[in-house]
């Protein structure tokens, strides 16, 4: 099995150190906020990659788990006035419950059913938020969440720590025999069956793990924005996450996390261009995906690490 090499570890430490120290050097609450969002998107992208990148079963509704986690935090804060720290475990539980509801009937099937069910489920949840506006706050969403940590810088460090833990756990799993099985499922489900592997179980378990981290990220986002609203369930969020994964390099876990950070930063940096920023952003994406179909970060790092060795 592949083990995390010293060079990979050194690279990870440098990246995390730069991410952790940048807001201290520049001392800007705006930048700290942007980096917090970067880290949350990175959690979402890495968690998407663990299930869909490894097994090849594309999930077009990751926002279902993100929104479920965020709204769990929202309801806990505004209905039950719970301690905000309860949001995190509760968000994980609810997101995993949603993954069971969608995954159980569809992951046993081959074909596009799982992808379509995820897409549909997230769209339905977005509509339900509008229909049951008395409870969900409708378009406005839910307001008045308490921050988990008052200082924006300390909260950013906390989110960054969660990201590091998430990437470490998911990478360890992906490099284990478990990850080998998930990649075998991507290769050929019939051969897996012939090898005595319960394919549905492994797909389901990996979706639950993916959902757990996505829901956790959702709750972190809710306690950063201090409000939740229906667009969290939107297809745009799901697609954004998928694009981040492809730009980062699908199936590598750390690549998608870095891809998410880069694309979130790019979006923010382009704000100065006003209306043109969508053009620039889209054009950049198209160029990356056209010339680097395997993504930007992971292949680049592999080449660099090879050189350093």
């Amino acid at each position: 099995m592949t083990r995390v090499s010293l060079i990979d570890l050194a690279g990870a430490i440098v990246v995390v150190a730069v991410l952790a120290l940048t807001p201290m050097l520049l001392n800007s609450n705006y930048l700290t906020g942007v980096l917090t969002v970067c880290a949350i998107y990175a959690i979402w992208a890495a968690s998407w990659d663990f299930m869909s990148g490894l097994t090849g079963r594309e999930n077009f509704g990751h926002s279902l788990f993100i929104g479920a986690g965020a709204y769990t935090a929202g309801f806990l804060a505004t209905v039950w006035f719970a301690n905000p720290w309860y949001s995190l475990p509760a968000a994980v539980v609810i997101a995993v419950a949603f993954s069971l509801i969608v995954g159980f009937p569809t992951l046993r099937l081959r074909g596009p059913y799982f992808a379509l069910a995820m897409l549909t489920a997230s769209a339905i949840m977005q509509r339900l938020c509008l229909i049951f506006w008395e409870y969900s706050g409708g378009e406005e969403g839910l307001y008045g969440l308490e921050p988990l940590i008052l200082s924006p810088l300390h909260y950013y460090w906390f989110v960054l720590a969660v990201l590091v833990a998430a990437v470490a756990i998911l990478t360890a799993l992906a490099n284990s025999h478990w990850g080998l099985l998930l990649r075998a499922i991507r290769g050929d489900e019939a051969t897996c069956q012939a090898a005595g592997i319960n394919v549905t179980f492994y797909k389901m378990a990996s979706l639950m793990i993916s959902a757990a981290f996505a829901g956790l990220g959702g709750a972190l986002y809710a306690h950063y924005q201090l409000q939740v609203s229906p667009p969290l369930f939107s297809v745009v969020v799901s697609i954004t996450v998928i694009i981040m994964v492809y730009v980062g390099g699908i199936g590598s876990i750390y690549g998608p996390a870095m891809g998410a950070i880069l694309l979130t930063l790019l979006t923010e940096m382009l704000r100065g261009f006003g209306e043109y920023r969508l053009w620039i952003y889209t054009l950049t994406l198209m160029l990356i995906l056209f010339f680097l179909p395997n993504g930007l970060i992971a292949p680049l790092w592999r080449r660099l690490a090879e050189r350093l060795r």
């Binding site: 099985l181 990649r183 090898a195």
Partner: protein, 247 residues
Amino acid sequence: MSAILDVQNVSKRFGGLTAVKNVSFSLAPGELTGILGPNGAGKTTLFNLLTGFIPADSGSIRFEGQELRGLAPYKIVNRGVARTFQLTRPFLGMTVLQNVIVACLSPRARDAHDKEARAQQLLDQVGLGAKAGDAVETLPYGDLRRLEIARALATKPNLLLLDEPFAGLGSSEIEPLAQLIRRLHREQNLTILLIEHKLREFMALVSRVIAIDFGEIIAVAAPADIVRDPRVIEAYIGRTEAEHAPA
């Protein structure tokens, strides 16, 4: 001795076509049996029914006294029935060793704690030990067949089903593979059922032949006798005499 596999009246229809019709046979433990039939006779469909890849419409498939019909393919494997595919299906993007490790992770292989060592041992057994670290894409066809067998053996089968193991192989690859099958049968006392439509490799290998045509069993006999059976000659040899004349 009671049968290890007992198949009774198994049928499968695809629309208007009956692919397998009222097939009944049984295998004694340790037997090396062949299923013979021209292309399209329903051999592979029968294999898919036995291994759960296609659900049977009717009949019963009892293995070591327990019904297999209705079980998912991976459950059948974990009862001790392993198969290979005629078109080999390796996991691409992995090494040869990793391909076998996947099967070593099945519940039936639980007691092998060091999966790498177990997979390496299986590769040695089928003669692929030196290629463990190679990318699976680089293996020639004959080695892929061996890899299929190693993967099947990883699940510790009591019954091994080989789907046309010699198809597409060159003459230099056929005899060593036949020797491997013979050795597995002898050393591990493995019950083996293999499909083949070429008579030559078959005859020297198996002790009993089940001949099928149009999804039905038309004869069961020793290899030497099967070629004299008039129904077999009519269904099989009569049709493709030049190509498949017995050796």
